[in-house]
C-alpha cells in the first residue's frame, strides 16, 4: 500500500471511529434522557453531540471510502488535503476564528465582572445559553467564512 492509500486508510479508520463513537453517544443520550429524569440536566446535549460525531464520521466515510478503490483518486485526494495552499488557508482561517473566540470569551468575562458589581444585568437563563452557543458557533462561522474568503484571494 502506497503512502497516499495509507493516509486515506487512516482517514477511513477515523471515520469509522467517529461513527461508532457517535452512535454510542446517541444511545447513551437517549438512555440518560429516558432514565435519569430526576437529574436537572438536559441530556439532549449528549444526543446532539452524538449526532455531530456520527455526522462527521459519515462525512469522512463518504469522502474517503471511494478513493480507497482507485490509486489515482487516493493520490489526488491526499494531495488536495495536504496541499500547501489549502493548509495555509485553513491555518489563516483558524487564526481568525481563534481571535474571535478569544474576544467573545473576554467580552463574557468583562460582562460577568460588571454584572458582579451590579453595573450590568447578570448573564443567566436563556441569555447565558445563547451567549455560550454564540461562543461555539460564531468562531466556527468565522472559520468557514475565512476559508471561503481566502480561497478567492489566495
Amino acid at each position: 500500500m502506497n503512502t497516499h492509500k495509507k493516509w486515506i486508510a487512516s482517514r477511513v479508520r477515523l471515520g469509522w471511529a467517529l461513527l461508532i463513537l457517535g452512535i454510542l453517544t446517541i444511545i447513551a443520550g437517549i438512555i440518560f434522557e429516558l432514565n435519569l429524569t430526576h437529574l436537572p440536566y438536559n441530556f439532549r446535549l449528549v444526543t446532539g453531540l452524538g449526532i455531530l460525531f456520527a455526522g462527521g464520521g459519515i462525512g469522512y466515510l463518504v469522502r474517503y471510502i471511494a478513493a480507497l478503490k482507485d490509486a489515482q483518486s487516493a493520490r489526488r485526494l491526499a494531495i488536495e488535503e495536504q496541499d500547501e495552499r489549502s493548509v495555509l488557508i485553513r491555518t489563516r482561517a483558524g487564526n481568525r476564528a481563534f481571535w474571535v473566540s478569544a474576544a467573545l470569551v473576554y467580552l463574557g468575562l468583562l460582562w460577568a465582572s460588571f454584572a458582579s458589581s451590579g453595573s450590568l444585568p447578570a448573564l443567566a437563563g436563556d441569555v447565558l445559553w445563547f451567549f455560550l452557543a454564540a461562543c461555539v458557533l460564531v468562531p466556527f462561522a468565522v472559520y468557514i467564512a475565512g476559508i471561503l474568503l481566502d480561497q478567492r484571494s489566495l
Binding site: 493520490r75 489526488r76 494531495i79 488536495e80 496541499d83 500547501e84 495552499r85 489549502s86 484571494s153 489566495l154
Partner: protein
C-alpha cells in the same frame, strides 16, 4: 512575485492538472501560482525548478520594488 509558470507549462504542453500531479499540489494551487496570487513554499519552488530543468530564479522573478513596498511601506 511574478513567475513564468504559465509560459513554461504551455511550452511543455502540460495541463494545469498534469503539472499539479507532477509536483503533488492541487490544480487550484497551480492556478493561484500562475495568477501571481500565491507564492510557493521553497520545497514547491524546487520541485517546479527541477521539473522544468531550471533554477528557481529563472521561474520566479524577484522584484526589488515589490519587496521594498513590503519592507518599508513604499518608502525606499
Amino acid at each position: 512575485m511574478h513567475n513564468r509558470l504559465a509560459e513554461l507549462r504551455a511550452q511543455h504542453g502540460l495541463t494545469q492538472q498534469e503539472l499539479a500531479d507532477y509536483v503533488a499540489v492541487s490544480r487550484q494551487t497551480i492556478i493561484s501560482l500562475e495568477n501571481g496570487r500565491y507564492n510557493p513554499s521553497i520545497l514547491l519552488a524546487f520541485r517546479l525548478a527541477r521539473l522544468f530543468h531550471l533554477t528557481i530564479e529563472e521561474i520566479f522573478i524577484f522584484s526589488v520594488e515589490d519587496d521594498t513596498d513590503i519592507l518599508f511601506g513604499g518608502q525606499s
